[in-house]
Amino acid sequence: MSGATNREAVFPTRQSLGLMKTKLKGAQTGHDLLKRKSEALTKRFREITRRIDEAKRKMGRVMQIAAFSLAEVTYAVGGDIGYQVQESAKSARFRLRTKQENVSGVFLPAFESYTTDGNNDFGLTGLGKGGQQVQRCRETYARAVETLVELASLQTAFVILDEVIKVVNRRVNAIEHVIIPRTENTIKYINSELDELDREEFFRLKKVQGKKQRDTAKQDAEMKARREKAEKAGKAEDDKENSGGGDILGEQDDTDVIF
């Protein structure tokens, strides 16, 4: 039998048949559920890919504008303000919050950016000239960083989802192509073994029955022969008895003598 290698090592009993059937049922339910999960994740995955594409394009534009606004600052201030800005920045104005989002049992981190109000460490930079360009440049870069944050959270989700989808698909395939066929094979094997046993039993019973019939037939024949013989003998005796008087000492009922 070809399935001999591809089945579980169980004794072909009715109990294990029951077990296998439950297992098959479980596997099928699991397969359905995982398939659905994988589809949900893939849907999400496609959406994220699309959004990454958008975000990347947006990032290209925003970064270009930001770089250009820096050029404007250089033009307006006419010098290097980098050092001063670096030194006067004390605390972060642009901050991040992380959240978790649950997509079909997968936790995706999502980054959310927010700016702290009233934190303007280098508000006076370029007071003499170019101050407004500096501020505008800062705003432009803040927007650029926002886009980067969005992109980062999408990319993280992308990587995680990719991993999870792979795992889920592997499971789906494992169930579909390994576990279910094997369980089915096992069930088939158990069934065939059980059938075999049934047939053996049936045959044995038949054999026993046949032997019994033979025995009865023989006995019948013997009895018949004996009866015939007895009949013959009985006839002769009958003839004898019938010729003799009645049995006085017989046990036939006598009418009781009543005084």
Partner: protein
């Protein structure tokens, strides 16, 4: 009258500077520059004007190195002129460098305040503002030592004295310190050109007064505009306005009380030039805040700062129509600086492929 003896000492310098002025890029050159497709093309176009200084640049240099190299040319020419200057002209040129010195000292103060190694900062200092004793300032480890060595070692001492103490350096924002110094510097420069025996009553005094008054007004207006929405209070702001200029005193007083762009517009109403700039820049009518170069997004009209630069260049160009004056040195330095800014701007536009804004440079020749 002043022409009688001017050439004895300063004739050579004047000739040299006028020669340099002719070396400035003209409108034609700029037209060629904006046609360039790559930085290399740009470099090639700049070849005749900058020659040797750009020769050592690698192919496709970054805009900042390009700017640094073009500045190098200005520096070397300035040093040459300075080396040949004598008497009042030498002093005049020293005054010219004080403005850059203020920037450098402000940089060192920032570094010391944040306890950085100030020696590294020396490289970042503007070479025009370099003075021999500057490395000495780096020895200072705390702000008080620095303050004392600035007082002793630098020519900027008078600007610190009386208006800033060493506590102030610690507490005030560095921008306020810088602008206070600059205000003192402008006032000092102004009184120098008007009171020096060699300059008073000469075309130098006339032209320089015009330039310095414009500079003072520009700073006052810019400080006011840029201080909206910051923690700079009105009284502090008032201290930063130079006490001369065409806006002084009424305009300055009104500026100090201005709360918004509309207020600034009212304050400059008295001076026709500035009023026109405000109208041109489209500020005041719609007080939707901020009107300088509209940050990267379109904006075809010129901004107020552009107009100010334009005006500065015109004044500088006008200075060359006068003879026997030191002001041409100042004008030449300013024109050359603007040229460097223009080149950087054009290079930046080419590098970032933003050709639509490339015409934003200011050319007066």
């Amino acid at each position: 009258m002043e022409g009688l003896l001017f050439n004895v000492n300063n004739g050579y310098i004047e000739g040299v500077v006028r020669g340099y002025r002719n070396g400035l890029l003209t409108g034609n050159n700029y037209n060629n520059l904006i046609q360039c497709e790559t930085i290399d093309d740009l470099k090639l176009q700049l070849g005749p004007a900058y020659g040797d200084f750009l020769a050592s640049l690698p192919p496709n240099p970054s805009t900042s190195t390009l700017a640094a190299k073009t500045t190098d040319k200005l520096i070397s020419e300035f040093r040459y002129v300075r080396a040949n200057a004598v008497g009042s002209l030498a002093k005049f040129m020293d005054y010219l460098t004080y403005g850059y010195m203020i920037d450098n000292v402000a940089l060192l103060i920032t570094g010391t305040l944040h306890e950085r190694d100030t020696r590294e900062l020396l490289e970042r200092c503007h070479p025009l503002g370099w003075f021999e004793t500057m490395p000495v300032l780096c020895v200072a480890t705390n702000i008080e030592e620095l303050y004392n060595s600035v007082l002793i070692e630098t020519p900027l001492a008078p600007y610190f004295k009386g208006s800033l103490s060493h506590q102030d350096l610690d507490e005030l924002n560095i921008e306020i310190v810088r602008n206070t110094l600059y205000k003192n510097y402008l006032e000092d420069f102004h009184s120098f050109v008007n009171n020096d025996s060699e300059m008073a009553g000469t075309p130098t005094a006339e032209v320089m007064t015009e330039i310095l008054e414009f500079e003072a007004d520009r700073r006052a207006i810019n400080i006011t505009l840029n201080s909206f929405g910051t923690e700079l209070s009105k009284t502090e702001r008032k201290k930063l306005y130079p006490s001369f200029g065409r806006l002084y005193p009424e305009g300055s007083f009104m500026l100090s009380r201005a709360d918004d762009i509309e207020g600034v517009r009212l304050a400059v109403e008295g001076v026709n030039d500035y009023k026109t700039y405000f109208d041109q820049a489209g500020m005041g009518q719609s007080s939707t805040g901020a009107g300088n170069m509209s940050g990267g997004v379109g904006g075809d009209g010129k901004s107020l700062e552009d107009l100010f630069y334009q005006k500065e260049m015109e004044i500088s160009k006008g200075a060359f129509t006068r003879q026997f004056t030191f002001a041409i040195v100042y004008a030449w330095v300013k024109l050359r600086e603007q040229e460097i800014r223009n080149i950087t701007w054009i290079a930046e536009c080419i590098a970032q492929n933003q050709k639509e804004r490339i015409g934003n440079y200011i050319s007066v020749f």
